[in-house]
Amino acid sequence: MRDLLTVYIPLEATALSLGADEVAVAILKEAASQGRDVEIIRNGSWGMSWLEPLVEMVTPKGRVAYGNMTADRVADLLKGECADLCLGLTADIPYLKSQDRLTFGRCGLIEALSLSEYQDNGGFVGLKKALEMTPQDIVTQVTDSGLRGRGGAAFPTGIKWNTVLGAGSDQKYICCNADEGDSGTFADRLLMEGDPYCLIEGMTIAALAVGATEGYIYLRSEYPLCKQILDEALLNARAAGWLGKNIKDSGKDFDIEIRMGAGSYVCGEETAMLESLEGKRGMVRAKPPLPALHGLFGKPTVVNNVLSLASVPIIMAKGADYYRNFGMGRSRGTIAFQLAGNIARGGLVEKAFGISLRELIEDYGGGTHSDNSLKAVQVGGPLGAYLSENDLDLPMDYEAFAEAGAVLGHGGIVVFDDSVDMAEQARFAFEFCAIESCGKCTPCRIGSVRGAELMAKIQAGAAENLPLMKELCEVMESGSLCAMGGMTPIPVLSALQKWPNDFGAKP
């Protein structure tokens, strides 16, 4: 028997954007020309994005990683002459080894679409347990885990589910928010591309918990690869009896459809998402009524972020206590941080709450990519505060961030070096709000346009407009229906407060 070469190459957007397919083709060609048999396994990404394409060779000792592989190094790789790119055993890479991989435990490890690998690595254990439990017991277990929504608002997931469970209705829905519009975030995508069955399992458990039979994944159109992978995962899950009618002979029905967004940021807001799912303009609805009671097509609906849902299988499999023993204060469990912007080692870091921003940026991220000094960090997406070097010791905890006037949001961390002009960032915050506003309320729709104009004047030297700009921020904060208009002042005012010089203001 000839020796078989087994190589892992991620089928994941970042890896592809840096040439993973070209590497795969080169490996096939090179192996053929050497007369060697090769098996290429397309796994998800481990989340060490700065090393993509990260290729792994299977050896008797385990999987050995090679970072930043290129097609023209493939010949060296197959000859064993690629020591300069070798990172040793993947499992021993410190960036990965030191994480608390609960939700992302299989991401990178398995071939994303292999049901057997999914099950060999703990998949469907949680769902099997849930199939034996009462809806109330499932809800209680999720509540006891302390899980809070990972989409931004950090609302306790179990409490939301309990409301939907208690609502009487002939029809209930599970809607997965996969709109992931925040700049600096990509964890939902990594999970869906690298471990799609985990999301399907989480949504199915949610359905059992509240008595829903239909589910939707609202996926942003910028994620076409996710769509392909999820489509195939849904087909496979259905064929294997994990989805559809009479799931695994339980007498329970649940199925999932994917619906694509169309480039609107505000459609990530849950009620705008529901409108969009109904085929309408993505206009934000006034709350109450809560979506939990009056959601999709007016029916009780669970709306959860991808990662909230994908955290449920392990909570069911290992118990509420296992999960809640990670974390600090009222922030229980783990959260997927995403290191982005001007950072040397960008990628995904899943850690228990409580780690400091500095540890994430310096120890994991390796500081700025440019090697210039760090000036600002925006955490929690475009509506999140700009933080400075002085804030880096903040623990990553919902309450600690709220106290500092900041938000953790979906865990995105965007680093800027000293070349950034914070007045321009403030102007952009208004501009982005103007582009994405759903238009329902005047402070947001008109205020954002005025804000951008005022900022342009301030940038041109007319600092006397600052008081007016601050007043406008107050109006937007108090007079907006949703966080789009209501939180746009956060990045603006945090930038002004911390870097007044950039605004031409006296500090």
């Binding site: 089928l11 957007a13 970042t14 592809l16 954007s17 840096l18 397919d21 397309r42 994005s49 700065w50 993509e52 992931e180 519009g181 700049s183 600096g184 975030t185 990509f186 995508r189 942003r220 159109s221 910028e222 076409p224 690869l225 459809e257 619906r259 694509m260 967004g261 169309a262 480039g263 609107s264 940021y265 969009s276 799912l277 109904e278 085929g279 309408k280 303009r281 993505g282 206009m283 097509f297 982005a340 912007g341 001007n342 950072i343 960008g346 990628g347 995904l348 925006q378 475009p382 995105g412 965007v414 680093v415 800027f416 070096d417 950034v420 960032q425 952009f428 982005f432 582009i435 759903c438």
Partner: protein, 163 residues
Amino acid sequence: MDTRDNSRPDRAAWDQDEARRIITRCAALKGGLMEALHGIQGAFGYIPAESYDMLADAFNLSGAEVYGVKSFYHDFRDTPAGHHVIKICQAESCQARGSRLLTAHVEKLLGIRLGETTANERITLEPVYCLGNCAVSPNITINDKLYGRMDEDRLEGLLGKLG
């Protein structure tokens, strides 16, 4: 494996039967108007005005309501794009890695601004707000294919290879 390549798929001329097939399929879906709009744009490259009445009929709406939905979303086009569509990410993470300079460079190179199409209808340049590839910013797409860690030289090289 990623089979999307760099060339724009051939866009069909308006075909009423094809449009009707797409719309009928989507009308069976709950809230299917968005899917129908995606389907129409997928087939024709934009939302031809001829499709409004058909969509309105199928979804029991007025033509104005259909237009209202279409116009809410950045993705849906009123007119065909250029032969190639280049999107440059304008959101914060890419800003932190030089997307503003990159954008200015491409605008100068092509002689158009973001949101415009070259006079020969060859290239449309558009902004996009986060492609979810922020760990390796700045990012662009060319005809929906994503490229990470973009810089001026590489982008010029890619432009040169476009048909």
